[in-house]
Amino acid sequence: MRRQSPPTFIFIVSLILVFALFLGLLSGAVDIHPSKLLGLFSLSNMDMDHRILQTIRLPRVLLAALAGACLASCGAVMQGLFRNPLADPSLIGVSSGASVGASCVIFFGGASLVGSGVGLPAITIGAFIGGLMATSVVYRLATSVTGTSVSTMLLAGIAITALAGATTSLFSFFADNEMLRRISLWQMGNLDGADWPRVATLALVVVPLMLVLPREGQALNAMLLGESEARHLGVAVERLKRRLILLTALGVGVAVAVSGVVAFVGLIVPHLVRLLIGPDHRYLIPGSAILGAALLLLADTAARTLMSPAELPTGVLTALLGAPFFIGLLLQQRQKRVG
């Protein structure tokens, strides 16, 4: 595939993101006329449409964009760190650990509780703690005196994911029907609980992440050459690995906590961006963030509108749309290699 120039690409995906933002704000169970957006933040003007925009649409749209940006850029970082274009943020156990945390809270009846003070539901907090715990176990298993072994980390991640999957299954097995439904809905990835506290929590992590991650672009490029090559280029490899694993675990952990397991964004978006502009992380990370935000936003808008007024789980839609697209991409690449 011919490469696009990175600035042009980033300009185009930014336009797509802006378009997706407006589309997300205006469409849904109730379609809102664009003129209503003008008075969005005036407090005096409180008709129905404005209330929908302020309390439902805007937080949801922002949550989708932030989660998408976070998952996609963390995916790009993971793929670089593991030197594997098939790596996914879930590889280090974040998603499966979060599932255990969430189903544990649902099972023990905390689902309706709101965590003290911060205004976040107990499920979100449980998921976040579960995700971080799983990642820290994976990280510890892979770290010895000689440093962190990336390949051991992959294996440990697979083992912990299996263990966490079994634990979640156990909770599901003993759960009653209502709990079971909640657990499986959570695992499908859903943004329907969007509110301002969640947006604020996610923004608190994602915005700094977006500022920090692209700075590691050059060091990640060197890592693709190999760990010893990176070391000989002056990269403090162990420190870089520790920092990036921590940052991505935090980012993915909080994204999964507020939105459930949204499949495929972290894998497919960086892959797609790499095909279009090449593997240079200085552009790959911001490019993935913007495209990830736009795609998750579009998928979520589709999830809200396709069967309106009913909603599909967002994670189901991202996989339903993402997988065929990804297969198409693979086929196209294969043809290119043959032809």
């Binding site: 030197r83 490029n221 050459l225 190999g226 002056g234 090449g278 593997p279």
Partner: protein, 256 residues
């Protein structure tokens, strides 16, 4: 100067290297020879700080290697490991450009250096080609250009060193000769070169100093004439060889 002082390395009670004393001088080419498993790569890993010795120390430009800041060291010590794991579609130019990561010389200067380095390895035509689609020899040339670009110019931090682990393994005859010529050119600019090489005659033709490793110890060290003798090759490789003289260069010629 890059200097090994009484270096030993054991892993799980198995002694890989014992009491290695070695000096790599600026402006000279040193070649490490020896049979498979003699400890050549282990020695390079110690000398480049990639692993730490069980005892002894490595002195780099007057200070222990471990005390150098990674960024500072990378400006004057450039290392080409064996093989490469890169499987992302960077272009040759992008790969060579990574050699400039330790420096802050600006894009214009870096572009000039990358052009020159690619040209030096005969790889200018690879410029925009994808690394993943190159042949083994082309990949090795691009990697060589990358490590050359890293120490292309003298730096205030100290003498420059170039360390190459089997740089010619994937090369045809012409590119082997080209590599040795590049190595010589760098040495003439005052760069200390250390390389592991398997071909005894290539080593004899270009190195000032040969180091023969056997079972983790230095079996012989000195000029090619002093090291490449019938007895030494019999002892180390268990091969019966004759030593001739290269008709043009006068270097020793090992005939098996």
């Amino acid at each position: 100067m890059l200097e090994a002082r009484q270096l030993s390395l054991s892993i799980a009670e198995f002694a890989l290297l014992q009491n290695i004393d070695l000096q790599i001088n600026p402006g000279k080419v040193t070649a490490i020879l020896g049979p498979n498993g003699a400890g050549k790569t282990s020695l390079l890993r110690l000398l480049t700080g990639e692993s730490l010795p069980s005892s002894g120390e490595v002195i780099f430009n007057g200070a222990p290697l471990s005390q150098w800041q990674p960024k500072q060291r990378a400006k004057i010590l450039s290392v080409l490991p064996q093989g490469s794991q890169l499987n992302f579609p960077f272009t040759a130019r992008e790969v060579v450009m990574m050699g400039r990561i330790p420096h802050a010389t600006g894009l214009i200067k870096d572009t000039e250096i990358v052009d020159a380095a690619l040209n030096a390895v005969g790889g200018s035509y690879l410029d925009k080609r994808f690394y993943t689609q190159m042949s083994g020899g082309e990949k090795q040339r691009v990697q060589l250009a990358r490590v050359l670009a890293q120490i292309w110019e003298a730096d205030v931090s100290g003498d420059r060193f170039l360390i190459l682990d089997e740089p010619t393994s994937a090369f045809d005859l012409a590119h082997q000769q080209l590599t040795l010529k590049i190595v010589r050119d760098f040495a003439c600019q005052g760069v200390g070169v250390l390389m592991v090489i398997h071909d005894l005659n290539l080593a004899a033709g270009c190195a000032d100093q040969l180091v023969m490793l056997n079972c983790g110890q230095i079996a012989a060290q000195g000029t090619p004439e002093a090291v490449l003798t019938t007895e030494m090759i019999q002892n180390v490789f268990n091969v019966d060889a004759s030593i001739g003289v290269h008709p043009k260069t006068g270097a020793p010629l090992v005939i098996v």
